[in-house]
Point group: C2
Chain length 355, copies 2
């Protein structure tokens, strides 16, 4: 299957709301997509389950059926958010981490952009975190042993040339398409000289790969140690344009960047592979506000936009993004995380009116 959009009569979208506010924001994203009419092929939604609640009901966090349907019957998907047990539970393992691996969604792309007060004005924060999505400590190879002084636990952090190269290629491609064309490689090779050394060198070598042919000559390359990157994100976010990072650093850095623009409730992402893409709001399942109807749907709607853009439906994606920007700019209909008093439904309706 390819991502080519030419022959599509309909767009089959898997919906996996999963836990907590995922069940409130994914339906909102669905409604926003439906409002796009003929700008995209007719959407067909497929409801799928995964998550902590699924686990407590069935003993499996990510049913094989969900993976199979996504793989064989869907063009793309939207994932909500998962809750985690507050203690280790035998047999439970994060379904989002597993899904990324099962579908080889190797790039987690997280644009963090503040909405400027006026249309056309420069955003104060405007960056993209490109997070490697399949390895690092997320390979979850862990062992527990008994040592002379008690228990000892070990986890493996895997960094491969293969995965670093493809995430590097994605990052260069994204950087090259932006006005500033600036790429910052995040690592900690002053401590992890072998693993992060491999990541850094492999990403750096992308412009010299066969077939690249000077395509990325305009991209400037910088590096930041992960600790320093978090510090500088807070102090001078304008130095960043595209940031590329191994999995765990990317996880942390995207949350740090999110804090700059007001709320995690605004930050979208896609998990992208060569033949599938899955939108996912960066926020969690937020058990504290679950069921109250006040979850911010904007990150999910923006994730739908990112997903459509990745599939080539630029016009539909633009309409969603513009509508979201207008609602934020007007500032009248916002959820409590943005200091508003509106509900999920009210925000969705404000967006639908703008579409």
């Amino acid at each position: 299957r390819s991502l080519s959009t030419t022959a599509r009569q309909s767009l089959r979208i898997g919906l996996i709301p999963a836990d907590g506010i995922g069940k409130e924001v994914i339906p909102a994203a669905r409604a926003a997509i439906e409002a796009l009419g003929s700008d995209i092929p007719k959407p067909q939604f497929v409801d799928l389950v995964a998550g902590w609640e699924t686990f407590t009901r069935t003993g499996v966090a990510l049913p094989q059926d969900t993976v199979d349907v996504l793989r064989n019957e869907c063009d793309c998907a939207l994932f909500g958010s998962v809750s985690s047990p507050s203690r280790k539970v035998v047999g439970y393992s994060s379904p989002i981490v597993a899904l990324r691996k099962e579908l080889d969604l190797y790039a987690n792309i997280r644009p963090v952009v503040s909405v400027s007060a006026e249309v056309g004005q420069k955003a104060s924060v405007d960056l993209i975190v490109v997070r490697e999505n399949t390895e690092c400590l997320y390979v979850k190879q862990e062992q527990l042993t008994d040592g002379p002084n008690g228990k000892e636990a070990r986890a493996t952090r895997l960094i491969t040339e293969h995965a670093s190269r493809r995430i590097g290629q994605m990052a260069f491609k994204l950087a090259n398409a932006r006005p500033r064309k600036h790429l910052t490689i995040i690592h900690k090779s002053n401590v992890l000289s072998v693993t992060d050394g491999l990541f850094r060198e492999t990403v750096r070598s992308v412009p010299t790969l066969p077939g690249v042919d000077g395509k990325y000559d305009g991209v400037t390359i910088a590096e930041q140690l992960v600790d320093s990157a978090v510090y500088r994100l807070f102090r001078e976010p304008e130095i960043f344009d595209v940031m590329v990072a191994p999995n765990l650093y990317g996880d942390i850095i995207s949350d740090a960047a999110a804090a700059l623009v007001g709320s995690l409730g605004l930050i979208p992402s896609i998990n992208a592979g060569d033949s599938f893409v899955m939108g996912e709001p960066v926020h969690g399942s937020a058990p504290d506000i679950e069921g109250k109807g006040i979850a911010n749907p904007l990150a999910s709607i923006r994730s739908a936009a990112l997903m459509l853009r990745h599939l080539g439906y630029t016009k539909g994606a633009d309409r969603l993004d513009t509508a979201v920007d207008q609602v934020i700019r007007e500032g009248k209909t916002l959820t409590p995380d943005l200091k508003g008093t509106s509900t999920t439904t009210e925000v969705l309706e404000a967006v639908l009116k703008k579409i």
Copy 2:
């Protein structure tokens, strides 16, 4: 050797300025300590070398002599900062990471406190990061192999019950001594259920250890996933009091916290073990401003204060801290990182006048 202060005629302090601005700020800390007069035993300073420059000169980043002198002839030490090579260099390995391990300085304690406008007023940020200092990915067990798709690098992340327990004890002790008595455990056990699971459970079990006897009953315990902790540090730092974290998360979180109070140039730390303590400013070697005479000496002076406090010299420590606070509050003599125009020497002199 014990940390008991009773019989000390003199205080033997190893000085390892290492690289970059370390060579400018450690002498300032020395001068501040010398100004304390009879509040502390007569200080005897021992000049020692380590770092990238030492490596380029001698081929060794941490000479055995430096370790031996610290171990056998010093009561405590001050470490500056190290530069890292911009590419992997065979044989080079961070001397600060090695020193922490060699001297078993298992707790890296990093208080991040904003100076209130008025004396006695509540600080807007007032927290302590307690970072495990000997294991996690910092064990630096890395391998490079050839796989079917190119190179593969693996690093081991080690978390032991032993190290988690002693850092947990340190964190509970520090939390218990503070007015809020609130401890937040930082982890990522939704992904690393075995390693971070062990860290979390072991820290949680500290109050039930034999001999603790209800001592920590007043301490409230919370948890935050590391990504979320960074986000919340920016959004609502007031929710944190003492944070305890495995090594790498602690590294990142202390930089995030530092960003809240204006400059890394203000943040001190100690590397503490059961029989040795080493002060260390959290900032790096700052090659961009090296040799310009404008490095902020306040983090190093505060690190000296923390070190003295840890050794039991409360009066000397208080005098240093109060002097630093006064200089910051007055706002007249500050280095460029704090938007001032003063030099390292001018700031030092302002501090010396207040001591």
